[in-house]
Symmetry: C2
DNA sequence: CCATATCTGTATCGAACGCTACAGATATGG
DNA sequence: CCATATCTGTAGCGTTCGATACAGATATGG
């Protein structure tokens, strides 16, 4: 069996003996369980099955490895976000997003701990760049939701007094809170119940309680 | 000026030169900003204004200091929880709780970072006892809310199909998510908007949609 | 087959970590 | 005023941290 190598073009020199995505997945588990500062280089190299010089040649340093892990994490969550953003209406977006996050938070392939890497691996840190990097990755999801809701609002799929930014922020906050509950050992059923309550806060499709100024809703 | 000392009875020996609550507040700031593992002993002793032997004599070790800080944190939040639990009805409990948490999360006395110590100081850690200790402290608040809602339900202040455990879990999850947003730099206004959405999910007082079995609601 | 380039494994670097031995300082109890 | 007890400050303990120097291994390009 040959590992997939990240080198895009044929280059000279001894080839890399490991698959980048593979070792990133293994490093992800360590960062997830121990947090950024709690994950030692020796634990990381042991889990990744490589030696320190290989790690430093490939990722620069510990922070570089962590940032590569975050990118890998996003990639593994992309299919969920794609499915969420493809939902026909904003309420379904909200439901798929919260249910998806709750599902991922409790089912982490038996390898990773319950919860979310972007929440529990370093909210406070000796190196302030780590919390900031995590915040940026979380904000990325929030922005995707907000832009979706802005489109929905323009399309008349959200009431005129709904605030896309607030709704996106609410969903992300709820999702992060769910992840904290999951990390503390909450069951899938408990998380599902939380999601149901959270969704009952969702504003329904605009009701005809005012004079209809413009009608640009498309089915 | 004389510092308050924690020694309850008069004892022999050289008296302690520092106020326990005072140094715990200073240590709290370090743990809050850097997380449990990111807070080094030298940073802690510098901030506390004492030397390592005094720290170890008083708190045992780093984990003992952290646990003492958590107790101190709870003590400083107790007045909020008292006010929340003294609210006349469950909806007001929910509102005061979320508004109170959001308020604390952004206004941390200019000394502590935005957010919540119980959420951001060590969700994942090299020593698993730290996330567990944090989870227990958070669960304490959730239990207080749940018991309050159970009493409300027995008193008819919550609808018969409301689940006190779910509502408490929802509020705590929402509060924790709000703290994550605050830690990432969310403004007080943004958090307030989230709280408003979150409260719109709250089940209202029981409506007379069924046969009224018992009536013991008071005003 | 050789020059070049890159990766791997061993062995280890200086720095920072959490923690403590020890002697001096300062209180109480008699 | 002395014996005892506890706390303080200095100085440094052994370990682990993140990161690297270096030599051998293995590919490409000519």
């Amino acid at each position: 069996m040959r590992y997939k190598n990240s080198r895009s073009a044929v280059k000279t020199g001894r080839p890399r003996s490991f698959c980048t995505d593979n070792v990133l997945d293994r490093a992800m588990t360590v960062f997830w369980r121990k947090g950024y500062e709690g994950a030692s280089l020796s634990e990381l190299t042991d889990a990744m099955g490589i030696n320190p010089p290989s790690l430093y040649a490939a990722f620069g340093n510990k922070e570089g490895l962590f940032r590569a892990v975050l990118e890998r994490y996003d990639a593994r969550r992309q299919s969920l976000m794609d499915r969420v953003l493809a939902a026909p209406d904003p309420r379904t977006v909200a439901r798929l997003f919260l249910e998806g996050v709750a599902g991922f938070a409790v089912d982490t392939e038996g390898r990773n701990p319950p919860g979310c890497l972007l929440v529990q691996s370093g909210l406070s840190c000796s190196d302030a760049g780590i919390p900031q990097a995590l915040a940026e990755h979380r904000a990325e999801k929030e922005r995707a939701l907000r832009e979706r809701f802005e489109r929905d609002k323009r399309a008349g799929k959200l009431s005129r007094d709904a605030n896309p930014a607030t709704l996106a922020s609410y969903l992300v906050a709820m999702a992060n809170g769910i992840c904290v509950q999951a990390a503390a050992g909450a069951t899938a059923e408990a998380l599902h119940d939380i999601v149901e309550v959270a969704l009952s806060a969702w504003p329904d499709t605009p009701k005809k309680n005012r004079t209809i100024k413009r009608k640009n809703a498309a089915g």
